[in-house]
Subunit: 185 residues, 2 copies
C-alpha cells in the first residue's frame, strides 16, 4: 500500500496531510492543521495533538508516517523544545500502531518536490500545488510542509513520483482544541 | 494523598522516584532508572519510556508528577531536543491518567532540599541522602534528581517538609530495554 501521513508537528499548530498513490498518482485523502490553545497546560495540548494524530493513523492506516528530521540547530530553541514534545507524542502514536516513522532531511523533501534541495518555502508551496493539481496554494505553510513530507515519503517508499495529478476536493481542516473544562481530556 | 512521582526524563536514561508523605515524613516507595538502547529507533525508545512511566503511574497513583521546568538554554541542544521528546510522552502519560504535572524550576528544587537555590549536584545528592535517611548516596544522578523533584513536589503540594526520615530498603532499579525483535513493541 502506498499511503503516507506527512506531519509537521508543533505545539501551536501541527500540519498533516495524507497522500495515497494507489493508482501511481498521489491523491490527497486528507489535510489540515491541529491547533491547540497557548493558554492551556502543556500536557493538555500534547494530549490533543496525540489524540488527533492517533485518529488520523487509525482512519487512514498509512504505510508510513513522514516527519522532518531534527536539525543541528534551531533559531528559536524554546520553540524547538516544545515542537520536540509534540514530535515525541506523534512518534509514540505511530509506534503504538506499528506504523514506521520516516525522518526525512529537509533537503531530501525539497529535492523530492522541486528537484532542488535548497528550494524556498514558497517554491515548495508552489510545487505542491502543481504536483497535486490543487486549486489553490496550500496554506498555512504547515499544511504545505505536511504535503511535501507525505510526497517525499511516497517517493522514498515507492520510487520516483514525478507527475502526479489529483482533483482537490478537500478543504483544509482546522481542528481546534474544544472548549471544555480544564479538568477533562 | 501526598504521593509524588519525580521524573528526570531523558532518551538514554529516565530517573524516577516515588515519595509518599502519608505520615508527614517522606518514604521512598520506588526509585530507579529506565534505560533505552541508543541503537534503537527513536519511536521505539519513546514507547519504552512511555510504557515504563505509565506503569509507575498506574502502580503508585501519585497525586502529581514532578518534572524540571524547561530551561531558557541548553548546553547540548540535540540532547535537549531528544530529552524533550521523552518529556512529551511522559506528560502525555500523566495527562491520560488525570495526574497533574508540576514543572518545577531548578532553583525551587534545590531550595526545597538544601535551602540553597544554587546548590551543586553533589550537594543535592548529599541532601537527599540525609533527608531520606538513605544508606548510600543515590546514584546515578538521574535518581538523585528524581528524588529531589519528588521531594520538592511534596513540598509544593503539602507545605514545608523539613525533617523526613525513612528506612531505605530499596535498591535502585535499572529497567533496560528488553531484547526483543525490532518489529515488536
Amino acid at each position: 500500500m502506498s499511503r503516507v501521513l506527512g506531519l509537521d508537528p508543533g505545539l501551536v499548530a501541527t500540519g498533516y496531510a495524507v497522500l495515497d498513490a494507489a493508482a501511481g498518482r498521489p491523491a490527497v485523502l486528507d489535510r489540515g492543521v491541529v491547533e491547540t490553545r497557548p493558554g492551556r497546560p502543556l500536557e493538555q495540548r500534547l494530549h490533543l495533538v496525540y489524540d488527533a494524530v492517533a485518529r488520523l493513523l487509525d482512519r487512514h492506516a498509512p504505510a508510513a508516517l513522514a516527519l522532518e528530521d531534527l536539525y543541528a540547530e534551531y533559531r528559536f530553541p524554546r520553540t524547538a523544545l516544545l515542537m520536540a514534545h509534540a514530535r515525541g507524542v506523534v512518534c509514540l502514536a505511530a509506534r503504538q500502531r506499528g506504523v514506521p516513522v520516516l525522518a526525512l532531511a529537509p533537503a531530501e523533501v525539497k529535492r523530492a518536490v522541486t528537484a532542488n534541495g535548497a528550494a524556498s518555502k514558497e517554491q515548495v508551496q508552489q510545487a505542491m500545488r502543481r504536483l497535486l493539481d490543487l486549486a489553490e496554494t496550500p496554506r498555512p505553510s504547515h499544511v504545505a510542509d505536511a504535503l511535501a513530507l507525505a510526497f517525499a515519503g511516497l517517493s522514498r517508499l515507492g520510487g520516483g513520483l514525478r507527475r502526479p495529478s489529483s482533483p482537490d476536493g478537500l478543504r483544509t481542516a482546522i481542528v481546534r482544541a474544544p472548549a471544555r473544562p480544564d479538568g477533562e481530556a
